[in-house]
Symmetry: C2
Subunit: 241 residues, 2 copies
DNA sequence: CTGGTGAGCCTTGCATGCAAGGTCGTACGC
DNA sequence: GCGTACGACCTTGCATGCAAGGCTCACCAG
């Protein structure tokens, strides 16, 4: 058994919270949320690979929770397309589909270009405010690229692209975009760190993208971001450039 | 009380399924699924307007279910962005945001154009197969337009656009697109039937779109679909053309 | 009349219990 | 040896019970 390893210590008693010595000062986080994050993390990190059969009781025991919050977590993950709930069988981790990388990249391109299109129609002041924000993010990326910290860079990269969506003000697009980030993380993890020497190239491309946004050049952005997304994927995943 | 009217007869006993005289031969549908559909329908149809506070017990009573399946339904609807769950308060129906129509339309345009772009790169045979399918859908639409059955036409219209996404083979995009349809339905319902005399125009535009897809003219499609989506929204919603 | 305080009611969070459904393994018949 | 049927186990579906948290409203003091 023991398909995954979601919890640390196995709780022998059923007390709700084992006192918790977490440094987080905030509320102890509801059980359902803990279950959700734990299972999602296990899936995205590849710890629970595609095809794995998860059972509520099993996960619940490992996390020291009852089945109820785990069940709810499974439901949420099914809605996100990460889990497939089989009626009376269990929950299987949906395997990454063969062409999923291409699918995600295409949608990201479409959403980002749409965001830039809206920005191009907005007041120049709005674009300049965004540009200032992007400049700050670029500075971070430059140092991360210099340190060749691929994991941190991946996060900074995501922040850059999300900033575009946020600035566009299209909340519907932003929500959809967020689910894509999860999927991409899942595809990327496990091969992170493949090409740290190319991170600087990605930063350069980000600078170019920022300039195109500021200029309101939608077509130029569309071309550039298409290339960029493909390269990002290649660098982080270690595929062909 | 009685904010919504989700159930028909009030079940006095707690038997799981009241024999059910439904003509559907399939399984009696799980309780959680029934709760989900009922609540979603109530939201999308506008029966439960934005801002309304729903309680699990209340809905459960109306549907003859316990709180558990209703709770699960609420969770799913929150994931879809239709419900906002307040920790110990209840669930409020998320109101349609002011710019939501524009947001949805932009994303639809982006996703559809992306689909056509991929189709344009695919084999011509694939486009021809799609074209045949679209032609069949167009025939349906023509008769529905003639009958000025706006509700049925709205469904046929959705089917046309979904067919494009399906044919592209981008399952990620297709999933995202499906959630958009829900939102658009919610914006549309309540004003359906405003401009039945313009349905023929929409059919014509669909024919044009189909031709552009067949020809692989991505830019032409992008332009045409942008106009078309705006007009569709206007016709079904009764706004300015 | 106004401000504050307390209790009660309402809500959900979560654990548990029971029952139904499915799968797999085994034993039996051929 | 092979096919089939039966049984036990494992899974989820859902109802229920208990407890915690928040809001509202009434009551009281000033």
């Amino acid at each position: 058994m023991a398909p995954t390893d979601l919890a640390g210590p196995a709780p022998t008693d059923s007390s709700p919270a084992p006192v918790s010595a977490a440094p987080v000062p905030a509320a102890p986080l509801p059980a359902a949320e803990r279950a959700y994050r734990a299972v999602k993390q296990a899936i995205l990190s590849g710890e629970s690979p595609g095809g794995r059969l998860l059972s509520e009781a099993e996960v619940g025991t490992q996390l020291g929770l009852s089945r109820t919050p785990v069940h709810e977590a499974f439901l949420r993950l099914q809605a996100e397309g990460l889990l497939d709930l089989l009626p009376r069988r269990g929950a299987v981790v949906v395997p990454v589909a063969p062409g999923e990388a291409r699918d995600v990249l295409e949608v990201r391109r479409a959403l980002e270009t749409a965001a830039v299109r809206r920005l191009a129609e907005a007041a120049a002041a709005e674009r300049e405010a965004l540009d200032a924000r992007l400049a700050a993010l670029l500075a971070d990326q430059r140092s991360l690229a210099a340190e060749q910290d691929v994991a941190a860079f991946a996060q900074a990269d995501a922040a850059f692209h999300v900033a575009l969506l946020e600035a566009s003000g299209n909340t519907v697009a932003l929500r959809l975009y967020a689910t894509l980030a999860d999927r991409q993380q899942r595809m990327t993890i496990g091969s992170v760190g493949r090409r740290p020497e190319h991170l600087a190239t990605l930063v350069d491309e980000h600078r170019t993208l920022a300039a195109l946004v500021l200029a309101g050049d939608v077509d130029g952005f569309d071309d550039a971001v298409t290339t960029h997304l493909g390269r990002t994927h290649a660098v982080l995943l270690g595929g062909a450039l």
